[in-house]
């Protein structure tokens, strides 16, 4: 043990002494989120909102697709990141009730990197790019809203019309949806 200590002192003899009272340290999860936020490329279609700016682990993301069948809508997602990040993925939910094959009525999102394919090397930017992609290319083969997926598969034009009416606050197949138009 003492040998290890003398190695340590040799290694650090140039560095200054860290003294003073012990204070709370920035956590590893905070450090990582801070890094991810600095690398976020939101473009013109996305915006973040921090209800409490001191808490960077909880925020919302607004996506306003500028192309595709969800163009003109404004979609909100809540991000909840725990202290186990990036070992655990962020918990992402759509806070509105929308008509989308990969998002259920409770707001659960079927995006592979949010669950089974999450890896600590992925970052928040990968997640938001994935979310944005869901609006450009809804994926009927990984359905979470089964009716919407069948609809998209069987009749693409009809599905588009249903998306428009759901976005306007109308009902599709007896289910009413929230108005999400800008």
């Amino acid at each position: 043990m003492l040998k290890i200590w003398s190695m340590k002192q040799k290694q650090q003899q140039d560095e200054s002494a860290a003294t003073g009272p012990k204070k709370k340290k920035v956590t590893a999860a905070q450090l990582r989120v801070q890094k991810d936020l600095s690398e976020l490329s939101l473009g013109s279609t996305m915006k973040t909102n921090f209800p409490n700016p001191d808490d960077i682990l909880n925020f919302t993301l607004t996506i306003e697709p500028d192309e595709g069948m969800y163009k003109g809508g404004r979609f909100n997602f809540s991000f909840a990141i725990n202290q186990n990040f990036p070992h655990d993925p962020p918990k992402v939910k759509c806070t509105q009730k929308i008509y989308h094959p990969n998002i259920d009525l409770e707001g659960n999102v079927c995006l592979n990197i949010l669950r089974e394919d999450w890896k600590p090397v992925l970052n928040l930017n990968a997640v938001i790019v994935g979310l944005q992609f869901l609006f450009l290319e809804p994926n009927a083969s990984d359905p979470l809203n089964k009716e919407a997926a069948e609809d998209l598969k069987s009749n693409r034009e009809g599905f588009k019309r249903n998306v428009r009416s759901a976005m306007g606050g109308g009902s599709v197949k007896g289910q009413s949806y929230e108005r999400v138009l800008k």
Partner: protein, 437 residues
């Protein structure tokens, strides 16, 4: 001969430590691998019996660790565990009996080992490791972990790294971490700030196997899929306002019935109450012998570090990680996991930075660009509690902009740690702000 044999049985005067005969053989003479500077006999024995050692976790691994340490000559052992004993623990957590169900693990384990190994003092603490501060952890010579959560490991690791004060050799506490999952396990030794830490080794943990949400929602194939569906989707839909408590039998029963109904719809057999419990709590069957092997390895290293009798795992520049796989025959491999230069915990330790507490955050940020030790042009800054200034995203920049005109003493306290991220660098910089005035 007869006398000799009798003395062993009666702890008689012929040999006052018959129980420790083999231990004494190791402590009383140098072996082929002992350091030339090592002094055998009394000093070695003293070092071992005076070393205060902390065991975190009194479960499957913890029971083994406590027993092993007590039988290796440690006399002053502390143990922390927040859990109480469940009937399902009794098959392998051998310090507990049926009558102990519901009592605190740390308490029961401590009393049991004290009773069986005379002369050992075990001090239990029934609570969370987070309840204790640096002063508490500072009293120990080393820490042995038998934990089942990554979160707790990361916490104790970050705490021990943060405690290292280079003017005080006693502030570096060796961390010995054991872990098992079914037939697999690992034992590793960490010298905080000197060798690769738990955060450096985070990618060594297998991620929890997850099933795509769409499989759960639309085409379940296995009974576990139905249970996960009840757990993630049905609960949220129907009992949103109640927080799911994995230990509440009513909650588990509700999930079980939901899962069973769904399984019947899809013609999937095999959903049971205990499977529901297993899936929801992510229980991986614990194997008693894996625990025994890993705990033995951990305690072996603890003994060698405390007694200096033999080279130990984790000496800087040597192997520090032993993995064990027992599911296909027996396989172990020991290697050196190297320290990560960009490890968020041990890669860049906070350096002191002298500041005038009357200067504004804006002035401080400008000074960062000029200070030779920083040279940060577009820094984003936070403390543990506060976001001081964020360059991006735009909304956060706007929200934190008012801080720029505030004085440092309004935002941070003397000696508080700040973390700085700058786009020009991959890693974050940490500083302790020391007020000059």
């Amino acid at each position: 001969m007869a006398e000799d044999a009798e003395s062993i049985l009666t702890n008689g005067p012929y040999n006052s430590r018959p129980r420790w005969k083999y231990l004494d053989n190791i402590l009383n003479r140098p072996g082929p691998f002992t350091d030339p500077d090592w002094v055998c006999g009394e000093p070695a024995l003293e070092g071992l019996s005076r070393a205060k050692i902390l065991v975190i976790g009194a479960g499957g691994l913890g029971c083994e660790i406590l027993k092993n340490l007590a039988l290796s000559g440690f006399k002053d052992i502390h143990v922390i565990d927040m859990d109480t004993i469940d009937v399902s623990n009794l098959n392998r957590q051998f310090l507990f009996r049926h009558a102990d169900v519901g009592k605190f693990k740390a308490e029961v384990a401590a009393r049991f080992v004290e009773k069986r190994v005379k002369g050992v003092k075990i001090t239990p603490y029934c609570g969370k490791i987070q309840d204790k501060d640096d002063d508490y952890y500072m009293q120990f010579a080393m820490i042995v972990c038998g934990l089942d959560s990554i979160e707790a490991r990361r916490w104790i690791n970050a705490t021990l790294v943060g405690m290292v004060d280079e003017n005080d050799p006693d502030s570096m506490k060796p961390l010995i971490d054991g872990g098992t999952e079914g037939f697999k396990g690992q034992a590793r030794v960490i010298f905080p700030t000197m060798t690769s830490c738990i955060e450096c080794q985070l990618d060594m943990h297998a991620p929890r196997a997850a099933v795509p949400l769409c499989t759960l929602a639309t085409i379940p194939r296995q009974p576990q899929h139905c249970i996960e569906w009840a757990h993630i989707i049905a609960w949220e839909e129907e009992r949103k306002d109640i927080t799911l408590d994995n230990d509440d039998p009513e909650h588990i029963t509700w999930l079980y019935q939901k899962a069973l109904k769904r399984a019947q719809e899809f013609n999937i057999p095999g959903v049971t109450y205990s499977m529901t419990q297993g899936v929801v709590k992510n229980i991986i069957p614990a194997i008693a012998s894996t625990n025994a092997i890993v705990a033995a390895s951990c305690c072996n290293e603890a003994f060698k570090i405390a007694s200096n009798t033999n080279p130990f795992l984790g000496f800087p520049g040597t192997d520090n990680y032993m993995m064990y796989t027992g599911d296909v025959s027996v396989y172990t491999y020991t290697f050196q996991h190297v320290k990560k230069a960009d490890c968020p915990v041990c890669g860049n330790l906070a350096k002191d930075l002298q500041v005038n507490s009357n200067s504004t955050l804006q002035e401080f940020i400008e000074s960062l660009a000029e200070r030779p030790e920083a040279q940060l042009k577009k820094p984003t800054i936070r403390t543990e509690a506060k976001s001081l200034y964020y360059q991006s995203p735009p909304t956060l920049e706007k929200q934190t902009r008012p801080n720029l005109s505030k004085k440092l003493y309004e935002l941070v306290s003397d000696g508080e740690e700040i973390a700085i991220q700058d786009p020009a660098f991959q890693i974050a910089f940490k500083f302790k702000l020391v007020f000059e005035n």
